[in-house]
Structure formats: C-alpha cells, structure tokens
Symmetry: C2
C-alpha cells in the first residue's frame, strides 16, 4: 500500500493521457477535482492487486460519454459518487475498493475522486491497460465478468441501474442513456471479487501511468528528450512525425468520431499520416495504407514538450510525434482481438502487432 | 371485491379499446395471455379504490412501445412479471396490488396477467381514464407522484431501473431504452400508497371498460345499434361517419405516428375527417378545421359491428363511425391541459371540450 498525494495525481493524469491514445477525456479537470478531494478528505490509499483479499469487493468508477462534451460540461462533484453509492445499495454489500476501468485522462483520475470522497482505497489496475470507447471492451469481459448491475447518474440527479444478459447490451443501453443525459454520465459497474480480478485485470496501470507522467516531468526539467523517454518506458515505436493539417470531429451517437491528417516533417517529410478515432485512436494510415491499429496504442505527443495530445485538444498546426505502443497481451488473444480488434470497428484488415511493422530506434 | 374470469377479461379488452382512442395496442394477444393465466392460476380479485387500505402499496404494470411493433412481437410471458418483481425487490416492500396505468387495449389487460401469475389483487382504476402515449401523462403526475423507481424489462432478459427528478425525464430515458429493447418493453412504476391513489387515480376504469365491452357484445347479440349504445354509455358524440381513404403510419422514436383520412358517408357525405395520432388519436380535423382534440377521446368504431378499431388495425376501405367522448375532469384543469392538451403535442390551438362543439343526437 502507498499513499497518493497531489503530485502523484498530477503524474498519473499526465501519464494516463499517454495510455489514453487520444481518448479518455482531458485529464485536467479530473486532476483538479481529485486534488481538491484529497485536500479535503486526506490522501488516497493505493493497493496493488497482490495486496487485496480474494473475497474483497471491487467496483470500478468512471465517466462515460464523448470527450468533446466532457471538456465543456464540468462535473459538479456529487454525481461522481451517486452512481457508485447507488450500486453499493443495490448490491447490498459494502464495496471495499474502487479502481479505474480504463487508462485514459479523465477515467484514470475519476475513481481517485470517488475514493477520496468516500475514503475508499483504490486498486492499482484497470480493465484495458489503455482506453477504449465501448463499455464491453474490458479484459473483465474476456473473463466472463458481467458489467451489470450497472449504475449511471447524471448531474441533474437522474440515475439508472441496468441488468443485462451480456456486456454488449449494456453498451447499447448505457450509450443511449448517456446521450439522453446530455452526452456525459457517471458510471459504476463490473463489480468483482478480488480473486477473479487478479486474473482478469491489467495490473499496475496507475503506477505505470504515474511512472510515465513523472518521466515526462523529470525529463522536461532536465531538458532531455521526453518523447524518447516515453518511448523507451512504454517499449514503443516512433511511427510518424508531422504537423496537423486537418482535423475533423463529429459527436455521433454519443461518441467523438473523426480523423486527423498529419503532413510529415523531418524523416517523414513528403508523407502523410491519417489517424481515425472513435473517442480513442483506432487506426493510423500512412500514405493510404494502414500501418497500425487497435488494440495497440496510437499516441500523439507534442513535439516540443513530449506531452500527450487528446483528440479533442488537437488543433490545426500542432506538431506531434506519433508513438505506437504494444497493447497488453490479453488483447492479442483471439477473444481479445474479436472484442477490440480492427474488424470490430469496421476495418477489413487483420491486426498486425506494432513491433512487426516498426523497429525501435 | 369481485372475481374476474375469462368472460370479464374479454369484455374488458373490448371496452378498453374504446377508451384506448386508437392506441394501447391490440387487446387480442393480451386477452389470450390473461385468460391463459387465469386458467392456470385461478381468477383475479378486483378491488374498488374504496376497498383498499390507505397504507397498501400499489404498483401499476404496463407495456411500453409502439403498438405497431407490439402486435408483431409477442410477449413470452416471463418478461411481463420481471419488471414488476424487479421493482418490488428495489422497493424492499411487498406490493399489495397492481393496476393498469392506462385504459388501452393491451395495457388494460397486461396488469391482469401480472396479477394472475403473481396471485396479486388488482385495483379498479387507472391513471388516465383513456390511453396517452407518454409516461408522464397520468393523473398521478398532477398529484406529485413520482414515476420512479421505474422498472423496465425486455424479452431477452435485460432490465433497467430508473430514478429521475421528474416524470418527463423518465419518459425520455425509458423511451430510448424501449427503442433499444426492440420498440417494446414491460414496465412497473408510479408506486403509490392507497391514501394518495384514492385522490390521484381515475376510479372504476376496469369496470367501466367491462361495461362498455359487455354492452357492445350484448347489443350485437340483440341485433341492436352497438355504436349508439357505446355513445350513450360514454356520454359521447357522433362526430363523423366515413370510409378510410388513406392511412399513413411511421414508427418514429419509439412511437407509431401518422394520420388517417376519412371520406364522409351518410350525413357527412362530401366532407373529410383527418385524424392524427401518436400511438393514440390526438386531433380530428373536419375539412381542415380542428373539431376535437386531446384530452377528449377520439374513438373509431367499426360501422357494422360497433367494435373499436385501433390505429394499427385501421386499413384502407374500413367504414367507421368516429365518436368523441369527454375525458376525465382531472384533465380539464389548467395543470391537466398543460400535461396532455393539444399544445403539448405541437398544435397551436386551445382545447375546446367536445360537448361544446357537438350535440348528442
């Protein structure tokens, strides 16, 4: 067990946006909320998966919706715990821990606010090792864990509790409710006991995010190459360097969908990279050919400072380096690829691991 | 208290379709389900509002969705009680009675199936005295009764439990969930204690529906004028007689919307009546002028047999008599008209009570 304080939160927020592959929302607001909650209620206790009891009850908490809307519609605070408490009442058991469902800007941090306010410890893991746009896209699904009972709440005081026969149905129902709730909602779901979570979760995600964030911060302070430091730490690959010459975003059916077009600079001069996204980056196409896809991580870092750029923060003229980062091994199984591979998202291509197409420099 | 048996159910189904003003679904399937449930579990006990205890807990049960879909997608049976039982679990109290939320073909009968299968008595009342298309359109809303906790279930085993800050939000959320569930869902909501229900409900609806149904049946058997018998019993008015020359229906956002055009015959020869509907009939326009509107009841009866015709059963060439029936007095208050008057449905007209425009013959 270790304690998380303000600086830990800042590092986690920064590093989680690298793992968020463009999605998961801008971590800034979430970071401020979590730091404020810590100041008010005290530090958060972070436990590794190994440290929790097999019979402990863990419930992830998160925000659902289009990141483009999340950055414009700030949470009040109470709604963040309403869904969580509603699920606890329904389960009729005290929840022992919360955890992030994904490693993304906002959603790595949101459980920390819930934890601080409810004085609940947090487990150092998540259900993706990155961010994905849909509810069923978690390693828990691969291990037969139900997303339901699934609690949601909005900032107006409305809430819903879903019970479904599979996690894809939960996505369908929760997505339209999120749209009705104004394109953002707070959720609590995938309640699990410790024993199963130890097999199903991606371990150490918060610590890994923190390590990435700290590395960026310290490398910046030492005037080093933060992008290279992140690449090394994540075992990633530089797949492109360029300037944003076009960015299209639409909020469709509760998602931020769109495409960014990069004009190559430096070694990529004369080439083009298109990155398509559904909240998160899905595929990268170099000169019309797919060179990388989900479930591997496509991350854009600001060329100067090495800081991650989210899809809703991306603007014309931004100069970025695109990193390709191998995903968690659970996603590279046939069941994993069926759930989150390129074909699920409508691309008629097979997944090729990023390390088979690129070399570390 | 009195017992309801198969013949009572048949009469209720027939009469409720008169009060259903074109909506509420075809009562035929619901009737067969209720009769089968009675044969299996025994007769249903029907209590008048006066007979129930002030502290008894009453929960209406109903079907939600587009009638056009309801007639094509038959209930399995289990889902009809799933929503009801889910609400009972959530409330943590034994539910003492169920009741219909509206007087419409399917929805007058659905609670009887729930009652028979759960061996639960039924209260002889409803929340409309007719049928309306949206969840918040009940006299309970006028008395400050919340629609939530609101339970819904589909035939696939999915369910949802909503808690909202007002009944209009419940309509929004429940409607999109109904669309996701395949345009039909089973619901339980508006849990109330007996004391408040006695003020808020429309009393005697099931008995009135039964009386209408029995009157049609007996008048037919006696070769009498069933239409005139229904008109007298409901204190209604003959507003048009004609032949259907056009019928348009679309399933939009979970509703059956459309318009029927009647070419006048007999005394209405040379005139035209247009009846627009959203599940239920909303307005009747004679030669382009609105002559009747919600909340009064616009009901089409088959010219030969005097039986009610629902919007989804209406076909080109049908010969019908259109009756105008005064609505319950609760709907004629300012609050009632705000909730279900013509302006709510987008018509820029004031409500004029049917008896001010027509005379009984």
């Amino acid at each position: 067990m270790r304690e998380l304080r303000a600086q830990n939160i800042r590092d986690i927020a920064l590093g989680a946006a690298v793992l968020g592959t463009g999605g998961g929302g801008d971590p800034y607001i979430g970071m401020l909320m979590a730091i404020q909650a810590i100041e008010e209620y005290g530090p958060i206790h972070l436990y590794s998966l190994d440290e929790i009891a097999d019979d402990s009850l863990i419930v992830p908490s998160a925000m659902m919706g289009a990141p483009t809307v999340i950055v414009e519609k700030l949470p009040k605070g109470d709604e963040t715990i309403a869904a969580f408490q509603s699920l606890e009442r329904y389960l009729g058991h005290k929840i022992d821990y919360t955890m992030p469902i994904e490693a993304g800007g906002m959603n790595s941090i949101m459980p920390l606010t819930v934890a601080a306010r409810l004085m609940l410890p947090v487990v150092d893991c998540d259900g993706m090792g990155r961010a994905f746009p849909e509810i069923q896209m978690v390693t828990q699904t691969l291990y037969g864990i139900s997303s339901t009972p699934f609690a949601m709440a909005d900032e107006k005081g409305n809430s819903a509790l879903l019970t479904t026969t599979d996690n894809r149905w939960t996505e369908t129902f929760a997505r339209t409710l999120t749209v009705d709730m104004g394109c953002t909602a707070f959720i609590a779901c995938y309640a699990t006991r410790g024993q199963l979570l130890k097999q199903a979760a991606v371990a150490g995600t918060l610590s890994f995010a923190e390590q990435i964030g700290r590395t960026i911060r310290e490398t910046q302070a030492a005037h080093g190459d933060a992008i290279e430091a992140v690449r090394e730490l994540t075992h990633g690959f530089r797949i492109f360097q360029g300037k944003v010459i076009d960015i299209q975003r639409r909020t469709v059916a509760g998602f931020a969908r769109g495409e960014a077009v990069l004009e190559g600079t430096h070694a990529d001069s004369g080439h083009e990279l298109r990155v398509q996204f559904q909240n998160e980056h899905l595929v990268a196409m170099r000169d019309g050919e797919v060179v990388m896809s989900v479930p591997d991580l496509i991350t854009m870092l600001d060329q100067e400072k090495g800081e991650p750029v989210t899809t809703e923060g991306l603007r014309y003229g931004f100069r970025v380096v695109v990193l390709g980062i191998p995903c968690d091994a659970k996603w590279r199984t046939p069941a994993g690829l069926k759930l989150v591979g390129p074909r699920y998202f409508g691309y008629a291509i097979d997944y090729v691991p990023v390390e088979q197409r690129f070399r570390s420099e």
